[in-house]
């Protein structure tokens, strides 16, 4: 049993700078929880408080059923993987792995058995006698992982562990870590994870649930699909999804057949089945949101938006098209062939998919279009 729960957790730096405003979060036993958010939103601060590397200014943290606020980091049953690995530069990989066990007073045979085991799992056996500086980025990352793994902690903490790797390596390490997590869970070992990142691809592909933070507050905690499909507010909507969701100022009015969204000199009518969902925002200045993937080329004669193409980024199988509609900039993702056919005189006619649009309150940013 190693659920983690955080109650009214606060952090004040230097007596005045409030970095964390009393957050609440529960991570279930075995759950892979990802913390995302822009730089400075206090992800690391939260993680480091869980680890015991930062003192708690208010609230409390429970691991299992123990309040750990006043325990030293080594006594909390946690392990942590740092962004820059923080391998002990003077110790060989083997010693890096076994250091924690040695401190804990494990027997020699047990230590070497565990080192062997972890090394096999992470395929770092050939590296055991190297020094950290003789490792490539990916190898170092695996060793850092091994150092956490070997302790069989109740909770794993990761602080942007992949951000120093290049794109290819990052992708493969991502797979490796989730694989590992699944395997631990299958073996019935404690495997609660709190994983900090600001890369939303990592967040989406790795997390059982994702906690989106902003300015020391939690915006939404949900599983990836819900977060994608039902963002609680404009911030989450913009943060999740790649390329970013188009969020533009618009006016929402009630038309004959259903709601009408107007921005600049263009407007688009939606069918009746959306009426209910969008009702809440009707009549006001709203923020209108559609993901780039949720546009489609409009059929001839269909009600559509006419967009001027600024630039098209060819990405192999699809095109990121940057367009202007009613003086506002949008991004649209289209299959290569469709785009080729559709682009005429530098304009395309497109239409958002009806059931995939969002309306956010202009002031509060709240999603008012949830069913």
């Amino acid at each position: 049993m190693a659920q983690l729960s955080i109650r009214n957790l606060e952090k004040v730096y230097g007596g005045s700078l409030k970095a964390l405003h009393g957050i609440n979060l529960d991570v279930k036993d075995g759950e892979f929880m990802v913390l995302v958010g822009p730089s400075g939103c206090a992800k690391s601060t939260t993680l480091r408080m869980i680890a015991g590397l930062e003192t708690v200014s208010g609230g409390h943290i429970t691991i299992g059923d123990k309040i750990v606020n006043n325990l030293a980091p080594g006594e909390r049953g946690i392990a942590m993987v740092f962004q820059n690995y923080a391998l002990y530069p003077h110790m060989k990989v083997r010693k890096n792995l076994s250091f924690g066990l040695k401190l804990a007073g494990e027997k020699k045979e047990e230590i070497s058995r565990r080192v062997q085991e972890v090394a096999e799992v992470l395929e770092i056996e050939p590296l055991l006698d190297r020094l950290p500086k003789q490792l490539s980025g990916g190898q170092a990352q695996r060793v850092a992982l091994g150092r956490a793994l070997i302790k069989k902690p109740e909770v794993f903490l990761f602080d942007e562990p992949l951000s120093n790797l290049d794109a290819k390596l990052r992708a493969s390490m991502r797979v490796r870590i989730t694989d590992l997590h699944r395997r631990l869970k299958e073996q019935g070992q404690s495997s609660t994870v709190v994983y900090v990142t600001h890369d939303q691809v990592e967040a989406m592909t790795m997390g059982d649930r994702i906690c989106v933070m902003k300015d020391g507050r939690i915006m939404q905690v949900d599983d990836p699909e819900t977060l994608y499909a039902k963002p609680a507010n404009a911030f989450v909507a913009g943060f999740i999804g790649m390329p970013e969701m188009n969020l533009v100022d618009a006016t929402l009015t009630r038309g004959e057949s259903g709601p009408v969204v107007t921005f600049g000199d263009q407007s688009i009518r939606f069918g009746a089945k959306l009426a209910g969902r969008l009702e809440a925002g009707v009549g006001g200045e709203v923020t209108f949101g559609v993901r780039p993937q949720h546009f489609r080329l409009a059929a001839a004669g269909e009600d559509a938006l006419t967009a001027k193409v600024i630039k098209a980024d060819f990405l192999g199988h699809e095109v990121d098209v940057h367009i202007m509609i009613g003086g506002q900039r949008f991004t649209v993702v289209l299959p290569v062939e469709d785009y080729r056919k559709a682009a005429v005189d530098g304009t395309i006619r497109i239409r958002p998919e009806e059931d995939r649009v969002f309306i956010f309150d202009r002031e509060s940013g709240q999603n008012v279009s949830l069913a």
Partner: protein
């Protein structure tokens, strides 16, 4: 078109020539740099060369001029100097020096590291004031603290022993080193220590197992400075050590210099040469770590 082609060929030709010239220039510039280094290096080294040369001269020759080649080389200086005017040979004094330097250097490194760690990594009440005293102790000319200090060690019953020479160092008494190590520590990231804490280490274990290994170059620098300064220190041993059999070399060197009497310069110079050897050797062997050590610290203000 063809015109531009030949023009181009010529340009390529020129470029090739330029490449060759460049290589030549590099060689020349290298030669110049070595020449300058050697010439200036010789000026730097000349005293040492002269010293070695003079130690093989006879007494009168030493004062005849500044050349370094002895006219009639003699090893008398070494032979007689080594015997000394005491019942002990110079070897005994080297051993004594070692007895002072070893505990002093070790204690300095240990205590200064621990104290610098405390200043660099923790906050505690009164830290600022305490740190100000570190700088403060560097500023008072120690001539005037000599007698009060002597009385203190007398009352502790430490006279004529090596204790006054190294015990203060064991309590991080050398402010310069505390300051220096502090600068190093400031530039070492804390992640490794934090990793160790998460691994279950206490702050002290983190110091021993993680910080110290990374600080080794800096600690070598401290040890080296301390080694060389202690080797040269004359006044400290003079005041606190009375028994001739306990003299370190710095004292033994001046043992026979009496302004009211003529003395054997070549013996003194010969022993000076021997006295310098350990420092020279130690510096040469460790200059790599020495320099790297400080650069790892990057002494930031």
């Amino acid at each position: 078109m063809s015109d531009s082609v030949t023009h181009f060929d010529k340009a390529i030709d020129e470029a090739e020539k330029y490449l060759a010239a460049q290589k030549r220039r590099q060689t020349v510039s290298l030669a110049i740099r070595y020449t300058i280094l050697t010439v200036v290096g010789l000026i730097m080294l000349y005293p040492l060369i002269w010293l070695v040369g003079a130690s093989f001269k006879s007494n009168t020759e030493i004062f005849a001029g500044a050349g370094f080649m002895p006219v009639n080389p003699t090893t008398d200086g070494y032979v007689e100097g080594w015997q000394t005017s005491t019942p002990y040979t110079f070897g005994r004094f080297f051993w004594n020096t070692f007895l002072i330097i070893a505990p002093k250097t070790i204690c300095t490194v240990i205590s200064c590291t621990v104290v610098a760690y405390g200043f660099a990594r923790f906050d505690f009440p009164g830290k600022k004031i305490l740190f100000a005293t570190v700088i403060g102790t560097l500023l008072l000319p120690n001539v005037v603290t000599r007698i009060p200090q002597y009385l203190l060690f007398r009352d502790l019953g430490w006279l004529d022993s090596y204790l006054p020479l190294w015990v203060p160092s064991a309590f991080a008494g050398d402010a310069f080193f505390v300051f220096m190590l502090l600068q190093f520590l400031r530039s070492i990231p804390r992640d490794m220590e934090e990793a160790a804490r998460v691994d279950g280490a206490t702050s002290f274990q983190a110091l021993i197992y993680v910080v110290v290994p990374m600080l080794v170059p800096a600690m070598i620098s401290v040890a080296l400075f301390q080694f060389m300064w202690t080797m040269n220190d004359f006044l400290g041993p003079l005041i606190y050590v009375s028994s001739v059999d306990k003299f370190p070399v710095s004292l033994a060197l001046k043992l026979s210099i009496d302004t009211a009497e003529s003395f054997e310069w070549n013996r003194i110079l010969a022993m000076s040469v021997l006295t310098l050897l350990p420092s020279l050797l130690v510096f040469f062997l460790s200059q790599k770590y020495f320099v790297e050590g400080i650069s790892a610290g990057g002494v930031k203000g």
